[in-house]
Structures are given as structure tokens and as C-alpha cells.
Amino acid sequence: MSGRNVGDVEPALPYGGDGLDWALLAALSDARGVSGDEGRVRDIVAAAVAPHVDELWTDAIGNLYARKRGDRVAAVATTDLRGVGRPDAGANEPGSPAARSSEPAVPPLMVCAHLDEVGLMVVDIDGDGMARLAAVGGVLGAAVVGQRVRIGADGVVGVVGLPPAHATTDAVRARLPALEELRIDLGVTTRDAALALVQPGDGAIWDTATVDLGPTLLGKAMDDRAGCWALAMLLRSRYPMDIVGVFSVQEEAGTRGAGPAAHRLAPSAAFVLECGTTDDTPKDRDDTPVMRVGDGPAITVMDSSMVADVRLVRHLVATAEREAIRHQIRAPKGGGTDGGKIHLARRGVPTAVVSAPCRYLHGPQALVSKHDLAGMVALVRAALESWSPDIVAPIPFDRPGSPHSLNREVAP
């Protein structure tokens, strides 16, 4: 990672942030891992967390699981989560018709971040050796025009063509280019030469190296390597209860990896660590920035995919206030996360999302704040350390007053 020499100009990071492994975040962001091709990222994560966890395994679709046994969990209670489960492990709730036989006896907490990033895929090679491309996840044409990319397992270099300025009409200038109009120039002149380098189906991603800007970092895949990194940092600590860190695949292609992971783990609750888009650059209207870089980790109340569990939201806010960690509530706008699949797994999983605010998300140069990231690690660590199963205990129905209320005045 290159960086500015900010020396003693820049104050120390809060929440012990100077002790965090920022080089790991840079390495993760620089690794190429378009949805469905997460292997390189998974290897870096696995190597980083292996010394700190009790079990590490992958599943059929490539999710990486890192289990950290709780220091207050009796050894006898641990269940082998790698298999389909014991046939007799079901009835953790007597009387439930759906206490499924594959659910572990002591459900762990799930903490999830996704390995993959948005990018491009080569779909065909034209006769002139230029590669046709398609988006993997939400990528604007404007985010790739003129950009150097690396393609496939070997990281073949190409460039997405940029129309020459002096030959561009006003009509073309006025609109964003569509991905279908763009091609990757591999620097070769024939189809055969191109096919010797890349194949249809190869992923392509910006050739960006992370730069340390002092209080902030600039890199291509902070969404969601920032979450993966935060989860790796969290797995260095031990908690009262079993934690399974899940590094999921294919979030950007439709939150596809996290659902099977949640089904397998049947967790008692889940935290999703994300990197979320902001709208916080100067604008004319007094409208929401969604969240703001520098205002701390953002706690989700609702997005397109999920209403966050009110009890977990309260626990996170209370933890942040108790620990004096700067935080913000993400404005309930569109957008979804792995939480959308996790909270609907099996009989339902209380789920919350904590995001690192990010500018220029889904582009070649995404900007995140080290203060926010250090705050995110500190917040989730404190929330896990102060965890109690009572937080998500079944809602009682024999007394008036509902715990499912966010309202500060009417809540019991």
C-alpha cells in the first residue's frame, strides 16, 4: 500500500485503531474477486484468520466459515456444524413443529461479510480481438470507461475503451455510456490472440492499488473487503459465546451465498458487516446523505431487503453510547445486504447490519474512513462482548407491552 506521509500531522486513530492491520485491508481490497470467483480473496482471509479461530471450513458454494468457540460455552455443547447435523439435535424448542433435526443444540452467533466484489465478465471476443463484457452486480458504464482492468486467473491486462473527446458528440456527452457499448481492448489484433489470453466467463476488475490517504483509504473493493477485514479483526478476540464468522460469496450477484450459510448454521442472531454507499458530497438540496463518511459506523433500521431486528438495533445503539463510539443511523433507503437472506432463514433469524460508510462505492476508487472502520470493529466487538441470549429471547405474550417497539417514549 502506498500512502501519503502524514506523519505527526494526523492524530492517532480512536478506539485503538492504530493497532489494527491496515495492510491486510489493502491486500484484501487489491485482491481480485468478482462474484463467483472469490478464491483469491478467500485464501487471504483464511490465512489471516486461521491462527485465531478454532475451526475453518468451506461449503459447496464457496462460503468460508470461521468458528470461534465461546469461553463460557461448555465443551460438550459444541456441535459439528460442518456436517448435516445430528439427527437427534433438533428439539431446541420443545413443542415446535419445526425444530429441525439439523439445527445445532447451541446455536452460534453469525457474523457475516461478503468476499465478492462487483465487476465485469468477459462474454465474447469479437473478430478484432476486443472483448465484449457484462456487468457482475451493480456497475455503471461510467465507472469502467477508460479504466485498466485485470482479467481471469492470470490477471491479463486490458483497458475498457474510452471514446476520443474530439470525436464525441454532445448527445453522447450528455449521457452515461451503457456497458453493452463498451469493449475491453486487450492490445491484440485477432480473435485467436485474444482467446489465448482470456475466455468468455473470465471475471474482470479494476486494476487498482489501495492508497493510504491518512485518515482515509482509497481502494477498489472496500465493498465488502472492509467488512471482511473488520470480521477478521473481530475474530482475534474471544467472546462469551460461540461465534461463526461467515465470509460469503456472491452477495453482489443477488445475496446468494448467505442464505445457505444461515440455513446451515441456524444462528440465534446475525450481524452483517457491510460497506455502504453514501450520498454525502455537497449538493443543492437539504436531503439525506444516507450516511456520512467520518460519522462512524452506520446502523441499519430498514432497507429494501430487511427490517433490522429492533432488539439488536437497540443493543448496538446502547453499546455505542456506553462505549462512546461515534455512530449513525443509516437512512432507510433502497439497497439490500446479505441480511435480507439471513433473517428469513429457517424460522427467522434476528439480524442487524453495521456498515462502514463509503464514497464512490462500486467504482475503481472507493473512499472509506479509518475512523469509521476502527469504530465499526470497536462497536461490534463491544456488542459481542456484552452479548446476552436474553437480547433475542422469544417475545413473551403473557404481559402487555411489546418489546418490538423502537419508540423511546412508549417502549417498556
Binding site: 428439539a91 420443545p94 415446535s96 439525506t288 430498514m302 433502497g334 427467522g348 423502537l406
Partner: protein, 386 residues
């Protein structure tokens, strides 16, 4: 909140719904509960069951907030029977059929995204609110605070001929500035309103008939089933988050494997000036869903419900709804698939602040749902998985 009495109350009408059913409608429509914030509705349902149907088992509230209730089959020990149900008893010989009936508790609304410097609240939609027609609507937050939605006049003018969009809208809660505004980012609001009787007590209007009318019909059906159990076991599930993607029904369907799944919800009505053709009319009876935008009902379930209606002299009308869907669409696809259908209450002005139903249709829906406790056993289409 008491319904206004400008019109005669339903109790004066000859074929009036039962008093408990009307009480359910009154108390459930008075409860506030946009998607994800159903606690007060759930409390109202629990209180109603405790008052009117104490023998209905309240089994549990799940992680998402779904409320599970149950009426056992005839001959089964009633009290505490749910605790004795083995986890996967559906292959047990001679077991009663299990009918799951879902009614969603949530209503549509808006949720605050921003409070500007002058104290106005910006919002996102919760579910399918008619964004272009929100101008002038009164909304209510959980604390009881009410506000009115309006649109930026300049933006509206610029968009003349186009419909209003969310970014033009703001909620005025009377706050002079941001610091004094009691609304926080993430606070949800639903339509403000209330229940009134219309047409001499034969019809009723409320801001949230969708789906408090369905909740009332299900609660009343459970009361009647508990008073005289049938051959089938009936699970009544009051679900969360239907309006934002049938979410509660998904986990509920996983939780309670059943033989037949039925949703009770409101549907549209075609008996309005200039309405698109739709063969549903207020007063025509409960609607038996054939299909909607998200599901095709199991033909056997449709036939069974129609026979139950004929046998019980319950007025019904067939429903073919071109768009929209309900919890049954999610229930149908749980596990290895479940025969599913829906009983609907024709409703005018759905997803608007004044939603009108016919109380005879509500009574018919409750009666038809109660009749499902007879069970599908012996029906030609029904083949138990044993």
C-alpha cells in the same frame, strides 16, 4: 378510538357480524403497525383472544414477530396441547390434518430518512404506498405524533404532467426546525384515520382494513373453531412484513409444516366508477382466490373452500386478481410445496387512507375460515403424506 356513530352501528343490522368480530375490527384497526413495527397490533390480537377466545392456544412469537396460535382437533386435550405436538408428527398414523391460516398484521406506511434544517421530514416508502397520491395524507408515528404529507410546489410544477415522486414529498409535523423535530431517522409512520360505519352499519371504512379486516376474520374464525373443534388442527398465524415482501409468511411456513395453507387478506373491488374490469363487488361475499399476481391457488383447495361455503350457506365470489399477491404465495412454496389458497375480503380504495369493506363479506370470510376446521380429509384431491 371509538367509531363515529353518525351512521347506525352494525349491531342494528339484521344479519350483523357477531359482537366479538366487530370488537376485533374496532380494536385491530385502532392499533398502529407498519411493516416491521407490528407489536401493538399483536398485543391487540392477544388481548382480544384472551377476552373472547381463551381456549385458543397462543403458542409463541417467533424471531421476526409472527404470532402463532392454534386450535386442536376434536378429541385432543385442549389445554397445552401444542406443547405435546412432536416436532415432525406429520407422518404419524391417524394424525389430524393441519390447516395453517395466515393473516398479516402489518400495514403500509412511510419511514423517515432525513429531517431538514427547517424541521420537515423526508421519507421512504414502506410497502406499496401510492406515492403520487400521498399529497395531503395525514400520517401517524408510533408516539401518536401526526403530520401531513405535501410536495414541493416548485418540483411539482417542474414535473407537470408527471406524477409526484418520493424526493418531492415531505412530512410536516409542525416542528420549527431540525433540533425541535421529534422525528428521528428510522421512525416509521402509517396513515392516520380511524374506523367509521357506513351504509347504516352494513359497511365500514378504515385506514388499515388491509389487513386488520383479515386479522379480525382470522381471530373470529379461531374463536368459533375453539368453541366447536373439528377433525382438523387449525394454526392461526398472524404474520409480519407481508407488505414488504411476504417475509413473515416465509419463516412461518418453514416453522409450521402444514397440509393446507390459506391466507386471509383484503383484495380489490371492481364496483367503482370507471374501475378496471374486476368481478369483485362489496356485499357479494367472501372471495375465494383463484389467482393473483403472485400465485395460482391449488385447484383442490379452491374446490374445497367452495364446497365448505355451499354446505355452510356462506356467500362467496371467485377472485381473479390481475396484480398484487398475499402470504399464500410464500406459504405455497415452503418446504416441498404446500396446497395453498386464500380467502379475501373485497375492499375499495386499498392502500389508500379510506379503505371500505362490507361487513357481510367480513362475516362470510370469518365463517368460511372457521369451517376449514372440518378438515380436507376424504376430499379427492387430498392425499396425506404417509
Amino acid at each position: 378510538m371509538n367509531p363515529q356513530t353518525a351512521s347506525a352501528s352494525p349491531s342494528t343490522v339484521a344479519n350483523a357480524p357477531s359482537a366479538p368480530l366487530l370488537d376485533a375490527l374496532v380494536t385491530f384497526t385502532a392499533a398502529w403497525g407498519p411493516s416491521g413495527r407490528e407489536g401493538a397490533v399483536r398485543d391487540a390480537i392477544i388481548a382480544w383472544l384472551a377476552a373472547h377466545a381463551p381456549t385458543v392456544d397462543i403458542v409463541r412469537i417467533d424471531a421476526l414477530g409472527n404470532l402463532f396460535t392454534r386450535v386442536g382437533a376434536a378429541g385432543e386435550a385442549a389445554a397445552g396441547a401444542a406443547a405435546g405436538v412432536p416436532a415432525d408428527d406429520r407422518t404419524a398414523p391417524g394424525r389430524p390434518a393441519r390447516i395453517l391460516i395466515a393473516a398479516h398484521m402489518d400495514e403500509i406506511g412511510v419511514i423517515a430518512t432525513h429531517v431538514d434544517a427547517t424541521g420537515f421530514v423526508r421519507c421512504s416508502a414502506v410497502g406499496g404506498v401510492p406515492i403520487a397520491d400521498l399529497v395531503g395524507c395525514r400520517v401517524r408515528f408510533e408516539s401518536g405524533l401526526e403530520g401531513v404529507i405535501d410536495a414541493e410546489a416548485i418540483a411539482r410544477k417542474a414535473a407537470a404532467g408527471q406524477t409526484a415522486t418520493l424526493d418531492m414529498l415531505y412530512i410536516d409535523v409542525g416542528a420549527p426546525d431540525r433540533a425541535a423535530c421529534p422525528v428521528r431517522v428510522g421512525d416509521a409512520a402509517a396513515y392516520a384515520g380511524g374506523l367509521v360505519w357506513q351504509d347504516g352499519g352494513r359497511r365500514a371504512m378504515a385506514h388499515n382494513m388491509d389487513n386488520r379486516a383479515g386479522c379480525a376474520a382470522l381471530a373470529e374464525a379461531l374463536r368459533r373453531a375453539a368453541a366447536a373443534p373439528g377433525a382438523a388442527e387449525v394454526w392461526g398465524v398472524f404474520t409480519v412484513q407481508e407488505e414488504i415482501g411476504l417475509r413473515g409468511a416465509r419463516t412461518a411456513g418453514f416453522d409450521v409444516p402444514c397440509d393446507v395453507a390459506i391466507a386471509v387478506d383484503i383484495t380489490g373491488a371492481g364496483d367503482l366508477p370507471g374501475a378496471a374490469p374486476l368481478a369483485l363487488a362489496l356485499g357479494g361475499g367472501a372471495a375465494v382466490k383463484i389467482s393473483d399476481g403472485g400465485m395460482i391457488s391449488h385447484r383442490g383447495v379452491v374446490g374445497w373452500l367452495e364446497r365448505l361455503a355451499a354446505d355452510g350457506h356462506i356467500p362467496v365470489q371467485p377472485e381473479v386478481l390481475p396484480g398484487g399477491t398475499t402470504d399464500a404465495a410464500a406459504l405455497q412454496l415452503t418446504g416441498a410445496g404446500v396446497p395453498a389458497g386464500a380467502v379475501s375480503i373485497p375492499t375499495r380504495h386499498a392502500h389508500r387512507p379510506g379503505q371500505v369493506i362490507d361487513l357481510g363479506d367480513l362475516e362470510a370470510a370469518a365463517a368460511l375460515l372457521a369451517a376449514t376446521r372440518i378438515g380436507p380429509s376424504g376430499e379427492a384431491w387430498y392425499t396425506p403424506q404417509d
